[in-house]
């Protein structure tokens, strides 16, 4: 009888624990679903042809769009990727080829530190290194700040992917008389292709929502600009500026931009997932 009571008590505790875990997890789901719902409901009303094709209009005039921010975001991502993808992949290759040693260890430490640096500090660095010498805010400086954030992400995912590739592949290539660079570029990298691509896509997804590094670099621009050395608008910057403005029209544009940005980021991570499963 005594045994029964104590066992029942323990089982009850177990049950309560499981229920409370489930309840806490569900409570967590609610704000998430609510955020997505809220962005969708407010954003979808802003979508129209003008929204994608027009420039923002001055306060008081109805309509207007965010075409300059869409183009700006795509350009920033393109330039940042051009800088960081080759570089990040090379570093990843270097680290996976040299698992021990002084320089690789220091490089690894630097990559870890770089990854932990707040994005706003990257903005300050790009400001002092590029904006001050060139004398103006520019697309290039913004893209540079973003690429500083992408490099550690890409090199880490590259290193992790390449570490999983069996040595037998490399040995087979050597046995056939393939030189070192051919082995790496034609055998190792192609066999890690899907992992590399998903890492790069996740890196792009991660930085495309970044606002802080762009505040003093890309700066924002009410007009359409595709010049590498002029300031440029981007979706996150536009959301920040319009969200904190007191005008209803601008806030609506910001909701539309938010929905667009969330869809963009989520589809990138979805593609990354599909690619990595292959």
């Amino acid at each position: 009888m005594i045994y029964d009571a104590s066992i029942r008590y323990r089982l009850l505790k177990d049950r309560l624990f499981k229920i409370s875990l489930g309840v806490l997890s569900c409570i967590l789901l609610m704000p998430l679903l609510f955020i997505l719902y809220y962005i969708f409901i407010n954003g979808i009303t802003a979508f129209s042809f003008d929204f994608f094709l027009e420039l923002p209009k001055p306060v008081g005039e109805a309509g207007g769009g965010i075409s300059n921010a869409i183009v700006g975001t795509l350009l920033l991502i393109a330039v940042a990727s051009t800088i960081s993808i080759p570089f990040g992949v090379l570093i990843g290759l270097y680290l996976s080829e040299n698992k021990t040693g002084k320089l690789p260890d220091i490089t690894r430490l630097c990559i870890d530190t770089l990854q932990g640096i707040p994005s706003i500090v990257m903005g300050i660095i790009a400001y002092t290194w590029i904006v001050i010498p060139l004398g103006s805010f520019s697309l290039f400086s913004g893209a540079f700040a973003l690429s500083l954030m992408m490099i550690p992400l890409i090199s880490k995912s590259t290193e992790e992917t390449l570490n999983l590739i069996p040595d037998a592949l490399k040995e087979a290539a050597y046995a056939l008389g393939a030189p070192y660079h051919t082995t790496l570029l034609r055998v190792i990298i192609p066999s890690g292709k899907s992992g590399l691509c998903s890492g790069i896509l996740l890196g792009v997804a991660r930085v495309s929502g970044e606002t802080a590094p762009l505040l003093f670099t890309a700066f924002g621009n009410p007009f359409m600009s595709v010049d590498l050395f002029k300031s440029v608008n981007s979706l996150p910057l536009l959301i920040f500026n319009y969200a904190t403005s007191p005008y209803q029209d601008w806030q609506n544009l910001a909701w539309g931009a938010s929905l667009l940005l969330v869809l963009f980021v989520l589809s990138l991570s979805l593609i990354a997932k599909v690619v990595s499963k292959r």
Binding site: L21, T113, I117, S155, Y180, G209, F240, V262
Partner: protein
């Protein structure tokens, strides 16, 4: 004929050694980049360091007009918002990681929870801030009216709530990974001795995974400190030392975001860069210590 072969071999060898050098060079560039980054922050803060000295960290007045720069309110603001965010997120991320790691290993609800965590992690910071302004701030304002405090709406509590939502996916995914690394045989041993799953979690898994989970919290804390945009939009931008969790404040990163573009005087700019230097040290400390503990733990596990 022989000559030609030797030539090809030599050119291949040249290419090989060039490629190896290129790889080493890429590693070196990272080291230079990192040291350059640090040196830039340091040299640009020198002016402020000589101007304010040690009182930069202890003085509570930040008044660019009078050229007094004391960062204490921002240090406190950063600490309070991050600690509060960590406390709010703690039960949720712990529950989530145990729930997914131990109870629901597969099935429909696991997929739902896992993809929700991924979704939450994918929403940009500025959108969290935007949503917070329109949803969380009005709720906090009502609470403040109810409690009879000045209804700012924006402030430490609002930013901590949003910050908590933002770090939950991060800390939950670290602890989930740590929990999944606990060896299966000790779990099975506990169950075969008649322990309930609850006893197995509290008496076997948690003690075993303790330092890994702790490292996860350190890293999440670093994440919370470095977060900029959402906090900038919700903290209320007050340069005074916060008196309660409802009062508006400023964090290291939000001051930089708000004031950097308008800082014209050299000392003002340099003081803001010194804030960035402090931020750099604090976040680097937390993320490196966290990583170190977790790496050590994984080797032992």
């Amino acid at each position: 004929m022989l000559n030609l072969t030797q030539k090809t071999i030599r050119s291949v060898e040249l290419k090989e050694s060039l490629f190896k050098k290129l790889l080493v060079l890429s590693g070196l560039v990272v080291v230079f980049l990192m040291s350059g980054l640090f040196l830039t922050l340091f040299t640009k803060s020198l002016l402020s360091i000589s101007h304010s000295g040690f009182s930069f960290l202890t003085s509570s007045t930040w008044d660019p007009v009078k050229e007094t720069y004391g960062a204490l309110p921002f240090l406190l603001g950063t600490l309070i918002t991050s600690i509060l965010a960590l406390l709010i997120s703690l039960p949720f991320s712990a529950a989530l990681s145990i729930f997914i790691g131990e109870y629901l290993k597969e099935g429909f609800w696991t997929t739902v929870l896992n993809s929700s965590i991924d979704l939450l992690a994918g929403i940009p910071s500025v959108i969290f801030g935007f949503w917070g302004l329109f949803v969380v701030v009005p709720i906090i304002r009502k609470i403040e009216l109810f409690l009879g405090i000045i209804p700012h709406g924006v402030g430490i509590l609002s930013s901590s709530i949003i910050l908590a939502l933002m770090i939950i996916p991060y800390s939950a995914s670290i602890s989930r990974e740590v929990i999944s690394l606990v060896p299966q045989d000790i779990k099975e041993a506990a169950l075969s001795l008649g322990a309930t799953p609850f006893e197995m979690v509290t008496k076997v898994i948690l003690p075993y995974a303790k330092s890994g989970i702790f490292a996860g919290f350190l890293m999440s804390f670093g994440r919370a400190i470095s977060e900029t945009m959402a906090v900038t939009m919700l903290i209320g931008n007050s340069n005074k030392i916060p008196s309660s969790i409802f009062s508006p404040a400023n964090t290291l990163s939000s001051v930089i975001a708000n004031e950097f573009a308008e800082a014209a005087e050299a000392e003002y700019l340099s003081s803001l860069i010194e804030l960035a230097l402090v931020l750099f040290f604090v976040t680097a400390f937390f993320s490196l210590v966290g990583r170190f503990i977790i790496k050590k733990w994984m080797v032992n596990a």
